[in-house]
């Protein structure tokens, strides 16, 4: 089950942009910025962006919401690129509490949404911060006959 144990994102990704969020009123701008940065990326010929900007904008918003609600400030969001994929990585300063999959009727929607949208998800801590991340692979163009 995703998010149920620590895991690192693929190594060697490149930072595209990052943001620090002061509060929930910054989520809106974050969603718009994430989609904008992705729309401005050069895409390999074999791949397409497709719904990746919408999906990552939602995922970034959900992970940042969790950091604001359940973690400790500062809440930092970074967008990284790794070959044919993009990674959103959200850090907060609480290294003792971490994502826990929840399946109630009213709780636990955040991680479930991110899991449903992303191709790969995970979390880990280093000495200062906890990272929660999600990876989105750009789909390949269908092969034409």
């Amino acid at each position: 089950m995703p998010f149920d144990r620590t895991s690192l994102p693929p190594p060697g990704s490149v930072l595209l942009t990052d943001w620090t969020l002061a509060g929930s009123h910054d989520l809106r701008r974050l969603r718009a910025d994430v989609a904008d940065v992705l729309a401005g990326q050069r895409i390999p010929a074999a791949r397409m962006l497709d719904a990746v900007p919408d999906k990552m904008s939602t995922a970034a918003s959900e992970l940042a919401t969790n950091a604001l609600c359940h973690g400790a400030p500062p809440t930092r969001v970074s967008l990284r690129r790794h070959a044919g994929a993009f990674i959103v990585d959200v850090t907060d300063a609480d290294i003792h509490r971490f994502p826990v999959p929840v399946t109630g009727p009213t709780d636990g929607w955040g991680l479930r949404i991110v899991d449903g949208l992303a191709d790969l998800t995970g979390w880990y801590t280093d000495e200062q911060v906890k990272h929660v991340w999600a990876q989105f692979t750009m789909p390949l163009w269908p092969l034409t006959a």
Binding site: D54, T58, G110
Partner: protein, 113 residues
């Protein structure tokens, strides 16, 4: 700084059926206000059914899902019908992923708009 339209709701009534048309981005910064509006309409005297129209909603996150589920539960507790309509694009996708489309809408999980 530009002026951003954050969210809006429009409440209308057709006999005992109340429609709440939401618009904009429904995230954790507005979910309490949206829930308050829905609960008050559900509790209103003379209301048998509440329809939430999401056609003009451009973002619905987990906080928005929670609002819809809590409103649904409150409605059921007082025998008021509660149904969500008009979800499309990313909003519909979030309802699908969370497997709430069948519970909250009339068209159910297999129908596509």
């Amino acid at each position: 700084m530009t002026i951003d339209d954050i969210w809006s709701c429009m409440v209308s009534r057709d006999g005992a059926v109340c429609t709440v048309a939401l618009a904009g981005e429904i995230d954790m910064s507005v979910h309490e206000a949206v829930l308050a509006v829905l609960l008050l309409e559900i509790d209103a005297s003379g209301t048998d059914a509440v329809r939430v129209d999401l056609a003009a909603v451009s973002f619905l996150g987990s906080a928005g899902l929670r609002v819809l589920v809590e409103a649904k539960q409150a409605a059921e507790a007082r025998a008021c019908t509660f149904v969500v309509t008009g979800a499309k694009g990313p909003v519909r996708q979030v309802l699908e992923i969370s497997e709430l489309l069948g519970l909250l809408t009339e068209d159910g999980p297999s129908t596509s708009l």
